[in-house]
Symmetry: C2
Subunit: 215 residues, 2 copies
Amino acid sequence: MSTTPSQRDLQKARTRRALLDAGLGLLKEQSLSSLGLREITRAVGISPAAFYRHFRDVSDLGVALVEESLGSLHEVIRSGLTEHTEDAERIDHLVGAIAAYVRAHPEHIRFVASERHGGVAAVRTAIAAELDRFAAEVARLLAEDEVSRGWSAEDLRMLGETYVDNMVMTASAFLEAAQGEGPASETVAHTARRQLRLISLGRRHWTTSGQISDA
Amino acid sequence: MSTTPSQRDLQKARTRRALLDAGLGLLKEQSLSSLGLREITRAVGISPAAFYRHFRDVSDLGVALVEESLGSLHEVIRSGLTEHTEDAERIDHLVGAIAAYVRAHPEHIRFVASERHGGVAAVRTAIAAELDRFAAEVARLLAEDEVSRGWSAEDLRMLGETYVDNMVMTASAFLEAAQGEGPASETVAHTARRQLRLISLGRRHWTTSGQISDA
DNA sequence: GCGTCCGGCACACAACTGTTTACTGAACCC
DNA sequence: GGGTTCAGTAAACAGTTGTGTGCCGGACGC
């Protein structure tokens, strides 16, 4: 039961959105640690002092952007992994979902990719935590496949991390493709599919002891 | 036949080094796009204007740092891949080499990791080019294994990229471990070894058509 | 209807930024 | 030894930055 938001709350939320959007937009061409508070407020059309009504810091705004960027991705991946069980089909679907997500939210992806190892500690930590939850979730989903019988929690976790790493790489490769900086989008998709296939194959032949079995 | 460098050339080279080192040091706590020219010269102890005797830009200095950071890595990996042929042994050696490299040049690794998707286009491009050469080299080396018989150039390339991606991820994970931000160093090594094992397994069971073979 | 809350404003502050200019003085070449 | 080259300097430039203060005015709760 949520109380109806007042006119004031609505307006406040609206400028908050504007600040987030403006920040995200400006981050196309620089990184968070060089993004100025005044720069943001100028883009929104409000006075610098008004910024403090919404965020303590620019890095505070950054942390808010992390949740926003990665929050909606969970659902996308969950459905991608549960709807299909056959490997090839699942891989195609997953890569397609990533491509679609990048097309829909390019700035968010760019933000995460560049700030994941960026200069602002608070944001870095927030992203790491989110991706961690993410890897755990993927591991949980993959644990339900028949192929995962007998896998230790540790190995499953490793598998989840491998998937997440790969997805992040793929997403940022799609992004570069979209802005003409790297190989074309289809090439990225092709490579991503085969990388996932490689991982899938390794997974099928994994032995719980971790030894590499003979062919 | 190289001419002996004059006293002046020597001194110039020395301050250039100082600029690069100072820049790298300052990048521990921020990203390149927010690194100030004056900040660097102040750290070195020269006047701001003197900076222009060595670099056009701060991003120009960044590009110089890319070569420096990634140049010496080639040799490390080449030896790591050629000295051993047996999978398990090779993987141990490779992960160990990465760990040692990170321990030896932590700032360089941090620089590459954070600027790879950072805000400065020129640097981003330089890193991408270097990693590209890198992936090609790994592919070339892996092509010589017996396991690679019948692999297409395209598949080999994909394999090389997978290796490089994994190595970059591992290196930056080691880095975070070293500064106490993520899981411990041994955990990282353990995960990295198993990820490489996973890839190795996939590689063994790869079929040229790209189909996933039955167990 | 009235007092309070509070998002946004204008203004001021000191500190900082990249870049240009004309210069000094030591190492250089012949 | 004398003229030239050139890394580094000092000073000035116009803009920029984050943050603090006091105030306004419309929406709010009662």
